[in-house]
């Protein structure tokens, strides 16, 4: 039990350190373009993706670093990608939002990835594989029409897909009450997609729920949805948060997955892990920085 709690904590804290170091170094000009960090949503990635088997597929969106690292992606290759280095995951072509490694795919246009994930799930089923596709989306994506076209066909054709909706209550700067009418749950239920609702940032609860859902998708070869009410503790990208400091303080106090999982570890153990993770992430950053600039 202790080992398992530590493994989860280590993964969550790795994502946290990665994103914090990224933001810290952004202003120095090492990284180009923009970035969307997973701060506050680390437990979703770690909890859900701890159940993957070989052949399973992950489809992610613009906020994909946490998903990529939880999938097992190399932090140094991700740093290098963000630096535009040849040693990056996609040779620096993709940048922050466009990652592909093994069975992990992310892209930056909202909604289209849901159709893409649906097609992948249907293809694996057609080929007779027992693979599961996991598609991460946000509440902001619910504004896109192709999501509903896709959900219809997901259900109609029985795609072995787990849709994980990270409901962080904000799309860039727009709170969800200004963008989402009616019920999110009923959106899925209207298509007869069984849906589970979690309101927590606790990796253990997320891991337990996701484990059951992924097994069900695999055995039934039919879709499930998991809505996780979560909190974006960072800005949308680099410095564009319009929420009040009181609101952010409240979220940090109640919704920080690092703190929630960290409390389960003995203090001395946690300190050791923290230090190891910080050293590892720093080394990944240094390694990426030192990697070859010249393209082959």
């Amino acid at each position: 039990m202790g080992d398992k709690a530590e493994v989860l904590y280590r993964q969550i804290y790795t994502i946290r350190c990665f994103e914090n170091l990224l933001l810290e170094k952004f202003s120095s000009g090492i990284f180009r373009g923009t970035t969307h960090t997973s701060l506050g949503q680390e437990a979703n990635a770690v909890g859900v993706l701890s159940h993957l088997l070989d052949g399973d597929i992950v489809v992610s969106n613009h906020r994909c670093h946490g998903h990529f690292l939880a999938y097992g992606g190399d932090p140094q290759a991700l740093f290098a990608e963000l630096m535009g280095k040849p040693s990056g995951i996609c040779g620096g072509v993709g940048g922050s939002q466009h990652l592909h490694w093994r069975n992990f795919y992310s892209s930056g246009v909202q909604g289209g990835t849901v159709a893409m994930a649906t097609g992948m799930a249907l293809a694996e089923k057609f080929k007779g594989n027992a693979s599961v596709v996991i598609d991460f989306m946000g509440d902001g994506t619910l504004g896109e029409g192709i999501v509903y076209e896709s959900l219809n066909m997901v259900s109609l054709w029985g795609a072995p897909l787990l849709i994980v909706l990270e409901h962080n209550h904000i799309a860039q700067t727009t709170p969800s009450h200004l963008a989402v009418a009616g019920s999110i749950l009923q959106r899925f239920e209207a298509f007869s997609i069984p849906t589970t609702w979690l309101d927590c940032s606790d990796v253990l609860a997320i891991q337990t729920a996701a484990g059951d859902l992924i097994s069900t998708v695999r055995s039934q070869q039919k879709p499930q949805a998991l809505i996780i009410e979560t909190a974006r503790l960072g800005t949308h990208s680099k410095g564009d948060d319009t929420r009040s400091s009181q609101e952010l303080d409240r979220l940090w106090a109640t919704r920080d997955p690092v703190a929630i999982q960290g409390k389960r570890l003995p203090q001395d153990r946690r300190e050791v892990i923290d230090q190891q993770v910080e050293v590892t992430v720093q080394a990944a950053f240094e390694g990426a920085l030192a990697s070859e600039e010249v393209r082959a």
């Binding site: 995951i89 996609c90 993709g94 246009v109 159709a115 893409m116 097609g119 057609f126 076209e149």
Partner: protein
């Protein structure tokens, strides 16, 4: 299944799909109203759901969704063919084509392939009105990573006929997204055979690239050296061929016709060669004129030939819409008469 000899473009395309599904177990058709006995709105998919029930999926009216799904299928090793019922609806798939399918290979640094074929009929002259008659392919001709083909109605040396052969190659052997532009009136055209083409010499050039999609150069036998090069594809190539004959017999204006089947990436070396002789270019298209295929043809030939290009002109649909009424529609879309008239004015 005995393979009959195709007689029309429609037969040829239908046979091409049959053969593709027969030979390629990863091929799969998805689109609206595809199932027999209907077999798709224009019958290109007729008989396929009976022959391959597991691999022909009829879909909801969700063009964007099915195109995106096809992209996901292709990323995982299938060879989906999407039928978009009317070319007008291709606007609905623009984000999927431009930002997803055509981008993945380069965006993921060559790590994936996306072999999707999207077929659709463009074109008017059937009275379907403004939203069911357009030729919108020009909006897809400049998309990096997207190949665009338009078949020519010729039998060629292929048992499937050239349209079916092109489609067969696109489905079974092309490794990246491909937009296959058909035309509603072209479906009923009989395939040109050596008998129909006795008066002509047809040279076949291969477009550079792994597939070597053909570009046809058509000359009138026994005619003096051509003074004008016509460039056209799809159904307009049929009208241009008619115009070429009449110009020769009625006006003593001698032309050469260039018919590319690969519209994008744009490669028209045979056209430049023809223009080195004629010096005059008339590009004919059924889409609207501004910033269209003809504009690119003229620009590229001007760049390639400099002062060797003495004169260049375009013929295209007039705006703002393709009307439903027969007389208004006829006035909107370029006809054989229009080609003859324009050619006469150029001489």
């Amino acid at each position: 299944m005995t393979v009959p000899t195709p007689r029309t473009v429609l037969d040829s395309l239908n046979l091409g799909l049959h053969q593709a599904l027969q030979d390629d177990p990863a091929a799969l058709l998805i689109g609206e109203d595809l199932l027999d006995p209907y077999g798709g709105a224009f019958k290109v998919s007729h008989g396929l759901s009976s022959a391959f029930p597991e691999r022909v999926w009829t879909t909801p009216i969700s063009e964007a969704g099915i195109t995106g799904i096809a992209g996901g299928m292709a990323l995982r090793g299938l060879h989906p063919v999407v039928e978009i019922m009317f070319g007008d609806f291709s606007t609905l798939i623009a984000d999927q084509v431009i930002n997803h399918l055509a981008k993945f290979h380069a965006m993921y640094h060559g790590g994936v392939d996306v072999p999707v074929v999207i077929r659709t009929p463009m074109g008017g002259r059937r009275g379907y009105g403004p939203t069911h008659s357009q030729s919108l392919e020009k909006f897809f001709l400049g998309v990096p990573g997207l190949t665009v083909l338009a078949p020519f109605h010729i039998q060629g040396e292929q048992s499937l006929g050239v349209p079916g052969q092109l489609l067969y190659q696109a489905v079974t052997a092309h490794n990246s997204p491909l937009f296959f532009i058909e035309n509603k009136l072209q479906y009923t055209l009989k395939l040109l055979t050596s008998e129909n083409l006795q008066e002509f010499t047809v040279l076949t050039h291969q477009t550079p690239g792994a597939q070597g999609f053909p570009c046809y150069q058509i000359r009138l036998d026994g005619a003096p050296t051509a003074q004008l090069t016509l460039a056209a594809y799809g159904y307009m190539a049929h009208l241009a061929l008619e115009a070429m004959l009449r110009l020769a017999y009625e006006e003593e204006i001698f032309c050469e016709l260039l018919v590319p089947t690969q519209l994008a990436p744009f490669e028209l070396a045979p056209l430049a060669t023809s223009l080195q002789t004629t010096g005059r270019l008339l590009a004919v298209e059924e889409g609207t004129r501004p910033l269209g295929w003809g504009a690119e043809v003229l620009a590229r030939m001007a760049e390639a030939l400099g002062s060797q290009l003495k004169q260049a002109s375009r013929l295209a649909a007039k705006g703002p819409v393709v009307p439903a009424a027969a007389d208004l529609e006829a006035a909107c879309l370029p006809s054989t008469e229009d080609i003859i008239q324009q050619a006469r004015e150029m001489m």
